[in-house]
Symmetry: C2
Subunit: 239 residues, 2 copies
């Protein structure tokens, strides 16, 4: 009996270690993705071709992390057959890393737009500064949602989900402005469109951060809040 109990304690300890390692891998992937966003925006603002190329090359590291973590999840499911909250954790990780990988793709797209601007010998006009604000906003969303994930903080996750509305609004305002620029100076349509694509990529990064926020809520509360009214969810969760 004693031996059995030790043995099961040993297994449970190893399992805890595996779950902890899984969590750390996700945070590592998230940290890398945050760096990629910051670097991509920086390369766009400074129209820095060398910096942009670095970002593009580094995307494979994000992809490699996704594949590794995916394998860890499948192995844990197969060997540990986790239940209840551990199972929700693994399912949430499978979903989270898909969004992190796509955030990495969007950062890569922004870097490609920086390359385009550099090739066209176009500068980053101060008129595009709205994209810097949008960039700061969605980067903060990604940072906050990873923080909410690490601390399993539902309130912080709901905040991120809500703040996506503000990102969408900033994006809409920026788009209206960019359309005006195109109309004023049709010869620069191509150049402005590069900024349009970068803005679109940032808007999608906000969407992905929101998705991850919803997984955090599912993870902690066991409640799938996608496609539901947020006020109802909040009332329900807080009650």
């Amino acid at each position: 009996m004693m031996e059995n109990s030790n043995n099961s304690q040993h297994i449970s300890h190893k399992f805890d270690q595996e779950m902890e390692s899984l969590r750390n891998q996700v945070l590592k992937m998230g940290g890398l993705v945050e760096q990629q966003i910051a670097g991509a925006i920086e390369s766009l603002q400074s129209v820095n071709a060398a910096g942009a190329e670095e970002i593009i090359l580094r995307d494979h590291k994000v992809n490699a992390l996704e594949v590794t973590i995916d394998e860890s999840c499948t192995q844990i499911l197969a060997r540990r057959q986790p239940a209840a909250s551990d199972l929700r954790m693994v399912v949430a990780v499978i979903k989270t890393i898909t969004d992190l990988e796509r955030i990495g793709d969007e950062a890569e797209k922004i870097a490609k737009m920086a390359l385009n601007l550099a090739e066209d010998d176009a500068g980053f006009s101060s008129r595009y500064s709205g994209i810097t604000h949008l960039g700061d906003h969605v980067r903060q969303m990604v940072h906050d949602v990873l923080d909410a994930y690490a601390r399993q903080d539902v309130d912080a996750a709901i905040k991120v989900v809500r703040s996506d509305d503000k990102a969408d609004e900033e994006y809409q305002n920026l788009m209206r402005l960019l359309i005006t620029f195109m109309m004023e100076d049709p010869r620069r349509i191509s150049e402005v469109l590069d900024v349009v694509w970068a803005a679109r990529a940032l808007e999608r990064i906000g969407d992905h951060a929101k998705n991850i926020g919803e997984y955090v809520i599912y993870l902690v509360k066991g409640k799938d809040i996608r496609h539901l009214d947020l006020d109802e969810v909040e009332k329900d969760i807080l009650s």
Copy 2:
């Protein structure tokens, strides 16, 4: 002993039924998503506001199916603790329905662009016909990848993954044309941009079909081919 064996046969039969039902639910969701794409493109071509609104309203059905199937997956993981190929199947379903749901979102975006065109009293110029071709192409990709999923056909899945390059090329050509239109007639930039967004949505639908193709390969071969060179993968799989 006899009773036990009957019992385990009974459980295994019920498990098979659950897996079969899961597969059918995914195909049902896929069929609905195909209809949404077709309806969205149709509403865009005919600038049909009523048709577009129907598509937008129907998106909640796609979302509801995602939540239902997600719950089925978590329940199967918790109660059945599937191993090997069954486990891969469940993980592939979790990923597939995320992409199907996002295809639904893109179809909704296309319908919104049709609404915009209708509100601006703009027609669907025959100059935009490239978007119809791109639409047919990506709708076929979604159809083929669901077929490959239903028949667990790796060759068909590889074909879909490969054909995404052609969709990207069609998209690039269309974009160049649309930029020319904007330069020629800056007063219509807003109108053309609606077509640009619809084209972008179609291009993303192609990406999602490609993702699902990769899950089919993972499902059948137990091999994660994302981010790998396709020639290598094909050689490896066929060998």
